[in-house]
Subunit: 427 residues, 2 copies
């Protein structure tokens, strides 16, 4: 039997009924002899309610007091879940970050975990208790409560799993695993049994918001096997033994497995939230990239892809992408700096998207890029920008061609499921 850390987010804990469902699920695992530590978020809506209160009291709430306050959302959740477990006859105990103790630095609202004392949890587990721990929070050397920032409950789960050397950290969410691509775009998307941390990072940063990036990085660093599964999957009639455990959801792991069987591409990620900006006719001289990008960065606008064409006659075009919400601001800043930069004109397009193939398999397979470009060409999809990393190839294309491109690539790289349409829990 295994030591399992389970993490349930705000949606899974969103109502009294859902909390009772979580308790039922925890009980099933615990009944089967597993040692269970549960990490929970605040009930959905609760953190926002508290933040609203703080903002009504103060335009700029003091960070220490803000943490003191918002951390109560999780404190309520852990107590409710422990009550529900006890009602089911499961011996359970809730613990705040301070009670564990989860030690953080003192960076209020965005603290980092420094050390976890596992003695309290271990003795509770030894007494056959389920331990319910508040996510998103810890305590610093002054005894002050610090929160880890949004999504911090995933990080708490992974950090606890690492500290306890747990067999795995199960992240319960509203989907039943990680898919080859968004099933809303192609019904042929299929659930992955396994994905590497690096692939997951690429998928997550491209909009497959199943997991917080920080938690995935943390899990990779400390070799904590992460499993993504659904908390709404009510027809689970599994045995809840170790064999069952190792087949549900999607496992995120450092183990790349046998590369012979490893598919070249694990998934297709995309991001609809892109906008492209081109500065035409700039001099091809040292420092030109910095001259263009610096004023944009200084306005706190995040830049994604950057592309500089070959120069002809000493002049070149410089392109980059930003989030759509930053498009107007970025265009305005560049117009103001155009003379200084020495470019001819600035053109942009906020109706573009980015589509990426992700897979550790492409490391050992040449020809992925050419097959991608060929597939897109056959489908009359024009590529506007290209960017590559070791396990990812991204292209920027017209927004209206997104669905067509994803479907074609999904088929071309052998990702389609054999049995017709996908049924995804929670979507």
């Amino acid at each position: 039997m295994a030591l399992i850390v389970q993490k349930y987010g705000g949606t899974s804990m969103g109502s009294v009924e859902r909390i009772k469902n979580v308790a039922q699920r925890v009980k099933r695992w615990h009944d089967h002899g597993h040692q269970i530590v549960v990490v929970v978020s605040a009930m959905s809506g609760e953190t926002n309610r508290l933040i609203d209160l703080a903002k009504q009291v103060s335009a700029k709430p003091d960070p220490r007091e803000y943490d003191q306050m918002v951390s109560t959302g999780e404190q309520v959740s852990i107590a409710l879940l422990a009550m529900a477990l006890k009602d089911l006859g499961v011996n359970a105990k809730s613990m705040t970050g301070g009670q564990v103790a989860i030690r953080t630095d003192s960076s209020h609202t965005k603290a980092r975990i420094q050390h976890i004392d596992d003695s309290q949890i271990r003795s509770a587990l030894d007494a056959n208790m389920v331990v319910v721990v508040a996510g998103f929070q810890g305590i610093d050397d002054h005894g002050d409560i610090n929160t880890l920032g949004r999504g911090g409950s995933d990080t708490t789960g992974v950090a606890l799993a690492a500290a306890l050397s747990a067999d795995e950290c199960q992240i319960y969410t509203d989907v039943d695993g990680v898919y080859t691509t968004d099933p809303r775009v192609t019904p042929k998307a299929k659930k992955l049994a396994k994905i590497t941390f690096e692939e997951m990072l690429e998928m997550a940063s491209l909009g497959s918001k199943v997991l917080q990036i920080r938690a995935v990085e943390f899990a990779g660093k400390y070799h904590v096997p992460l499993r993504v599964l659904s908390s709404f999957d009510e027809d689970v009639d599994g045995s809840f033994d170790d064999t069952f455990r190792q087949t549900v959801g999607t496992l995120i792991t450092t183990d790349e497995g046998d590369t012979m069987e490893q598919p070249i591409i694990s998934g297709i990620a995309f991001n609809r939230d892109e906008a492209k900006i081109v500065v035409r006719g700039v001099a091809d001289r040292p420092g030109i990239a910095s001259a263009i990008i610096s004023p944009v960065s200084q306005a706190n606008i995040e830049i994604d892809m950057i592309l500089q064409n070959l120069s002809s006659n000493g002049s070149t075009d410089f392109s980059f992408t930003v989030n759509r919400g930053d498009y107007d601001k970025a265009m305005q800043i560049l117009q103001e700096h155009l003379a200084e930069i020495g470019g001819k004109e600035i053109v942009g397009d906020n109706k573009v998207v980015k589509v990426s193939l992700v897979g550790v398999g492409m490391r050992s397979h040449a020809g992925v890029a050419s097959q991608m470009f060929q597939t897109l060409a056959e489908n009359n999809v024009n590529i506007q920008m290209i960017s590559t990393s070791e396990i990812k190839i991204s292209v920027v294309i017209q927004e209206q061609q997104l669905e067509k491109a994803v479907k074609a690539l999904h088929t071309a790289f052998g990702l389609d499921r054999d049995d017709g349409e996908s049924k995804v829990a929670g979507l």
Copy 2:
């Protein structure tokens, strides 16, 4: 300048606006050089919201988890008040019961304070900070949160004042002090500058619900001067110096002062929530009182006054009072036991009230009772039952005669204010 512990209840903290008002008031005291520790309750309604949640999850919520959860109400309050204070430029810091640390026993939902570590608070005060402490909660030897039960924030305030040897503990409430009687009954009621703990206990137990009885007992035991004042009194244009401090509201103290100047009667309390039950024609034999009272007590019905008339011909009448809500149940129980008791009949009246004169002065003044009875007789108020203690005389009368009786007694014992009608903040 003084070290003052101020306590604000749920109504004073009932909204963002009210919290800002509390911050303004705290700032005025602090600006004047006083050292201020503030104890607050949860925002009104919040504790009930949390209890409702717990009851939805579990018919009988686990007490440890219940405390873990409801204690968050105060944690939110302290953070909001500290934020509001910082916004006003006052250096402030919130502390939970655990952070202080306020040590309690492990009697969840009704814990008792055992020890308060004042070192954290003292060093914050030394740094010119206002310390905002969560009422109603503490932490036991296992690091578990325990709540003190309803009204526990008053107790927290008094206990902190005792631990810090504060100059006084100010209890802010919705009235501006303790009155000779309820100003809604007679507009001639006047605010008392001073009252003893014993008198306050008698006033409080009779329905003048300004303070929790437990807090008053605690303050008496540890000689903590308690002051009751209003948190809605917006026209305070006082100097907030020590002279001002010693004149606002009502001081509750162990100091009985010069008995020459001490009025005989401090106030008139009353309780509308009374019902009278008479068992007629019972044998005047040992054990008869127990035979009547035991079955009633066993049904968890609280008995107030008990009266046994002199017997005539070996038979007597036995009377007692209960809360009106328990009247029907008590009557039914006695009917069931009537044969066993050996009484003739049971009669009752749930339209009676109790009126009490309270005053330490009556210890040294004979004739208070006779003056009381004479005044009532002159006003055609019939006395049904009488009960006395060292500092109190209570009578049971017809409900419809309450106002008349209180007004007559108020005048007869020289309690009327000289300047016409009373204006009471918050009533």
